[in-house]
């Protein structure tokens, strides 16, 4: 146990290098990484997947597995070298002095043990406290993480809690022993935005309350801005820039940091006037890193003969507070040069209505068991009275958290399910009752889909070309094999992939490239309507911009209607013309992008806007944290679906929210809101996001 009087840095990492050894070669995962975390400080570790940020965390825990090994540098925790400790000493520190929170809460909890037992284990093992004391401590921490009814929670099993609650328990477990250092490895990635906002808020508060230092690993710059004091930007195994949040965000001194900020959709970016600038090229594989600067081949400021020569060290930036950058040219680059605005395009005028949804309902009957169904059937109302129109070459965003019914809607539209009631008019023909087997080829090829998970969207055992050709065959395009082959190559050109990729297997492609193939496949039959189900959410930031732009470009050329399903409001604001917000199967708000992102809001939209982390220091946000979780669709609340979490509920007289589902109200400019709030309250709403005066 470290002595109590220690007041130096909690964690000092000095020139740390970590490698993994395989049968073929050594793979350096982290190179020359240095950082210092002082007591009570929160350090953010940001980078794309594969940049080594999780390896650093595992290195601190000294848990690199059999083939991982620290090959240089040192990690000091409260002045003691962790590398020199025996397994026994390490075991003492882990869980008591250093605690770690992982991405997947369900995987961090033992599903066969009650929550209380799992929490009580921590002090009982580390400090030998009695069962009674441990129980009291557990009760205290569970109250601290703001879980309702702590006694009941302690007595339940992990699967009885929701994802957000589970993550709170994991946080509680980490705090059981009052650790000095808390490592959070993407703690909210698996959660919904509003739940994420609540968990982040909690982590911040607890950090202050317990005085814990934090190492916060994330790929989301906005989240780091909200939680951390200092930041470390990593690229391909190296820190490229480190410093105070305000220094790095506002006075960045490394081209990668700059490129990263330019590729994420911040308020103000617009797909026509100010398109995102994607970082060209691909992330280098660990064993294919270039000589000299790792970012060199993708850098705008690259200078042959300088940047590709030797190993580059970290250079301190004079103006900042412990602000360092790994760039040889940071003094020469004019960091305030105006952004080279990319290709500007005219906003295409929306054409005729191609898709009209009228009062669409989709209910599922859930029986208790398949064989002996019995009488107690439950009805899940997945979609409730959906009505909207979509025009040619328009982007309509469908926004909502998991369970809001957006995927069900996509299924009904595609014909994988048939509607319970209502109409879907595609080019004036009703398709809501026609399952996909009965649709004609033209209808099928007209409505296509781009899927979310790039690692799942392509069949792993078929070549890329074969999969596109199959779509062409099914859509009856091309007379001969040769025709289809040619058309397939054209489609690869369309999505800007080299033609050689036709013969590759999906595993040889990166995530972004796979997603491009998915887009090519969707456009194989000249689709008129493309449903994009979170097409970029699983991609790295720098790739997201490129894929989004590609989608926009194809849309512009083909005059496609894009139904963009997402929970990420930043990207929605960037690319959509109109936005539809869904909650528990209801459309709660529908309007143009400006209407939805400006007051008056539906209370849910307001909370959603506030929950989305924005990586811009000049933005002021109102903090609205939703209490509780999304109710189950099996058992929705009576009246307004949002009433259980609404902060405006008491403004509505007569408890109307509990009794009646609000009617759809049409505000100025065909802006629809489903809420009981009176007009003057709606008019009084303040904008959630304010750009501070410059």
């Amino acid at each position: 146990m470290a002595d109590e009087t220690y007041d130096g840095p909690i964690l000092e990492i000095d020139k740390l290098s970590i490698s993994f050894f395989t049968r073929l070669r050594e793979i350096p995962a982290v190179m020359d990484f240095s950082c210092t975390v002082r007591p009570g400080e929160a350090m953010g570790l940001v980078g794309e997947s594969g940049c080594g940020k999780s390896t650093v965390a595992l290195g601190v825990m000294q848990d690199l597995g059999v083939n991982g090994r620290i090959v240089g540098g040192s990690i000091k925790f409260k002045g003691q070298d962790l590398g020199a400790m025996t397994p026994d000493e390490l075991r003492n520190i882990r869980g008591s002095e250093i605690a770690m929170i992982y991405q997947e809460p369900m995987a961090s909890l033992n599903p066969a043990m009650r929550i209380g037992k799992q929490l009580m284990e921590v002090p009982m093992i580390h400090f030998g406290t009695s069962e009674k004391e441990a129980y009291n401590r557990a009760l205290e921490v569970v109250t601290d993480v703001k879980l309702p009814d702590p006694k009941r929670i302690l007595n339940s099993f992990p699967h009885q809690l929701s994802g957000g609650q589970q993550q709170r328990i994991v946080i509680a477990m980490a705090l059981m022993s009052k650790p000095s250092l808390l490592i959070l490895d993407e703690p909210t990635t698996a959660l919904d935005v509003t739940v994420e906002a609540a968990v982040v808020e909690l982590v911040k508060d607890l950090g202050k309350k317990y005085g814990t230092s934090m190492l916060f690993i994330s790929h989301n710059l906005g989240l780091v801005l909200e939680t951390c004091d200092r930041i470390c930007v990593m690229y391909s195994g190296e820190t490229v820039e480190t410093g105070k949040i305000s220094d790095v965000f506002d006075e960045m001194q490394h081209p990668y940091t700059q490129a990263l900020f330019r590729s994420i959709p911040l308020p103000g970016a617009d797909k026509n006037a100010r398109p995102l600038i994607a970082i060209p090229g691909n992330f280098p594989l660990p064993h294919e890193r270039p000589q000299g600067c790792n970012f060199g081949p993708r850098c705008d400021y690259f200078e042959a003969g300088l940047c590709d020569q030797t190993q580059i060290d970290m250079y301190p930036v004079e103006s900042g507070d412990r602000h360092e950058t790994r760039c040889l040219k940071f003094k020469e680059i004019d960091w305030n040069a105006p952004i080279d605005v990319g290709k500007q395009t005219e906003k295409p005028a929306p054409g005729d209505v191609v898709l009209k949804i009228d009062n669409l309902k989709k209910y599922y009957e859930v029986a208790a068991s398949a064989l002996f169904g019995g009488a107690n059937k439950k009805v899940v109302k997945a979609n409730e009275t959906l009505s909207f129109e979509a025009r040619e070459s328009e982007t309509l965003a469908i926004v909502g958290e998991s369970g809001c019914g957006k995927s069900t809607f996509a299924k009904v539209l595609m014909g994988l399910e048939t509607a319970t009631d209502g109409q879907i008019l595609l080019n004036n023909s009703e398709i809501q009752d026609t399952p996909i087997e009965d649709r004609d080829t033209k209808t099928i090829s007209n409505v296509q889909m781009v899927f979310q998970n790039p690692f799942d969207t392509l069949n792993p055992s078929m070549t890329v070309g074969r999969q596109i050709i199959r779509a062409l065959e099914i859509f009856g395009i091309g007379e001969t094999e040769q025709d289809r082959e040619n058309r397939m190559l054209e489609l690869l050109d369309l999505v800007k992939l080299p033609r050689e990729f036709a013969g590759r297997m999906p595993r040889q492609l990166s995530g972004g490239q796979k997603q491009r193939v998915g887009i090519a496949r969707a456009f194989a039959g000249d689709a008129k309507i493309v449903v994009a189900d979170e097409p970029v959410s699983a991609l790295d930031v720098s790739v997201q911009a490129a894929v989004t732009d590609l989608l926009m470009e194809i849309q512009r050329e083909n005059k496609t209607t894009l139904l963009f399903i997402s929970h990420d409001l930043s990207i929605v604001r960037y690319l959509s013309d109109r936005v539809m917000v869904m909650y528990l199967g209801h459309v709660v708000e529908l309007g143009t992008t400006d209407q939805v992102f400006q007051p008056p809001y539906h209370p849910y939209t307001e909370a959603l806007l506030s929950a989305v982390p924005i990586a811009d220091t000049s933005i002021e946000k109102q903090h609205i944290v939703l209490e509780g979780d999304i109710p189950s669709a099996m058992n929705p609340p009576p009246g307004c679906p949002f009433q259980t979490r609404c902060r405006w509920k008491d403004q509505v007289p007569g408890g109307l929210c509990d009794k009646e589902v609000p009617p759809v109200r049409i505000l100025d400019g065909n802006h629809q809101v489903k809420c009981h709030l009176s007009d003057d309250i709606l008019a009084r709403m303040e904008p959630v996001i304010k750009i501070a005066a410059e």
């Binding site: 050594e26 398949a370 014909g415 996909i436 080829t441 889909m449 799942d456 069949n459 859509f475």
Partner: protein
């Protein structure tokens, strides 16, 4: 002719050395084990060039000595086995001469391994097998028996006709010279002795591999066809169809396998059937005609789902399948080959059908489980939204991605089937009593096991090594298919 000893004249020199090395090896192994409790563990240092090196003190040295001793043992076993190739007849003893008889098998094995290892990067999962020692050993053992079965067909490995009885050779120990001078050029010894009907045990074991290696993989393949054709729709559609099929599968699985076999292969059941007046539909034919239709259905669905957009190709593939498959189906299941060229021994058929019948429910369940997992993937949804037929999605989108576990199970299942056929033979069910297959031979040798163990031990060892090889191969495949 003198009788052969096990190791021949080489043994007089080599045997004491061999024994000494083995004893030393066992000794160092035990010391190493005991030392590992006290000695410091070997530390690993990283060299500047990036390679890692283990520098262990006493333990590391012990480890090295151990591996040298083990290599020495292997080398001496090699000398025993291959001495017969270069020395005059009889010098290498029984081991040497068996090694010499198996020369074509050794050559084929070496060629296979050299080719496979040279091109392993281009050979997919098969190539990756050669990255795993366990997999390679398993593959070598399996291929050994495959090549034996192949070369036996060319009359290369066996020394005598496996059915010939030579007077005076009854129950003779291994290495006994032929009693009567016999024909000129006949092989002068019974290498593994004679059985109680004075037949050559060595030749019978080698010949028996043929029967085992034809029936077991073929029956397993048919079981897979049945299991896949039913398991895919059960997992994909779910619902009542799945419930009913799973229930039937459980029913078959719940019935004691051996009892089921007894029932299926007893003459009474085999003679039973349905009398249509013009045709008497016997139980084996009923089962065969139902089970053998599945491969046909499978292939037709496979072609049709993929090529229905190109009618000319579709008709060609389906036509060929129906013609060839239909012909085989008539000949094998109904014993009604219109040209009278192909027929299957009814004894073999019943064993075959019984094995397929008990294996397919397990395969069904594995396939169903895999489908339940894979059908949630986006590429399946992509196929559905593109308007693909259900069978295309099952056969071309789901099945290829379930191949890893299925291949592994296939190897394991050939092993079980081999044992199953052996068990059947041991109970004297199915095949004729003179058949050289291993199960029947073990059963025949069982009666005099106390006095003359060799006629039973040789086929038992053969059975054991083949199944061991298949299990190792499956392990290797599983290990390699999980990587990447």
């Amino acid at each position: 002719m003198d009788p052969l000893t096990w190791t021949g004249s080489i043994g007089t020199v080599l045997n004491p050395i061999f024994l000494a090395v083995v004893v030393l090896f066992v000794f160092t192994l035990i010391t190493q084990f005991l030392l590992s409790f006290t000695a410091p563990p070997p530390s690993i240092t990283v060299n500047p060039d990036g390679s890692a090196m283990s520098t262990g003190g006493t333990l590391g040295m012990m480890g090295r000595v151990n591996s040298y001793l083990f290599l020495g043992i292997l080398a001496m076993i090699g000398v025993y086995m291959f001495s017969g190739l270069v020395t005059p007849y009889g010098t290498g003893g029984i081991f040497g001469e068996i090694g010499a008889r198996l020369l074509p098998v050794w050559i084929a094995l070496i060629v296979t391994f050299v080719l496979s290892i040279t091109f392993k990067r281009k050979l997919g999962l098969y190539g990756k097998l050669f990255d795993s020692m366990i997999g390679m050993i398993g593959f070598a053992i399996v291929m050994f028996w495959v090549f034996v079965a192949v070369f036996v067909a060319f009359d290369l490995v066996v020394t005598h006709n496996p059915l010939d009885q030579i007077s005076g050779m009854k129950n003779k120990v291994p290495g006994t010279p032929m009693s009567s001078a016999g024909d000129e050029g006949a092989y002068p010894h019974y290498l593994l002795g004679g059985d109680n009907l004075a037949r050559d045990v060595f030749s019978r074991v080698m010949q028996g591999s043929q029967i085992v290696l034809i029936i077991a993989p073929a029956a397993t393949l048919f079981a897979f066809m049945v299991g896949i054709t039913l398991g895919l729709p059960a997992g994909y559609y779910g619902g009542k169809f799945d419930t009913v099929l799973s229930f039937i599968a459980n029913l078959v699985l719940a019935f004691p396998v051996i009892l089921l076999f007894f029932l299926l292969v007893t003459p009474e059941i085999r003679a039973a059937g349905i009398d249509f007046g013009f045709y008497y539909w016997r139980v084996p034919t009923i089962l065969a005609s139902i089970l053998f239709i599945f491969p046909l259905v499978f292939l037709v669905l496979l072609w049709n789902s993929r090529f229905f957009t190109q009618p000319s190709k579709n008709i060609l593939y389906i036509g060929l399948t129906v013609l060839i498959g239909g012909y085989l189906y008539l000949a094998l299941a109904w014993d009604a080959d219109p040209f009278g060229m192909i027929s299957i021994d009814q004894n073999v058929l019943i064993v075959f059908v019984a094995v397929v019948f008990v294996n397919s429910p397990t395969v069904f369940r594995i396939v169903r489980g895999l489908v339940l997992d894979i059908k949630t993937r986006d590429y399946v949804a992509a196929g559905q939204t593109r308007g693909e037929g259900a069978w295309y999605i099952m056969l071309w989108e789901i099945l290829p991605n379930a191949r890893g576990p299925l291949i592994v199970d296939f190897c394991l299942r050939i092993g079980y089937t081999t044992i199953l056929i052996g068990t059947l033979g041991f109970f004297g069910l199915g095949l004729e009593s003179e058949s050289p297959d291993w199960g029947t031979t073990i059963n025949a040798g069982r009666r005099l096991l106390g006095i003359y163990p060799h006629p039973a031990i040789a086929p038992a060892l053969a059975l054991m090594t083949l199944v061991l090889g298949l299990n190792l191969l499956a392990d290797g495949l599983r290990e390699e298919s999980l990587k990447d």
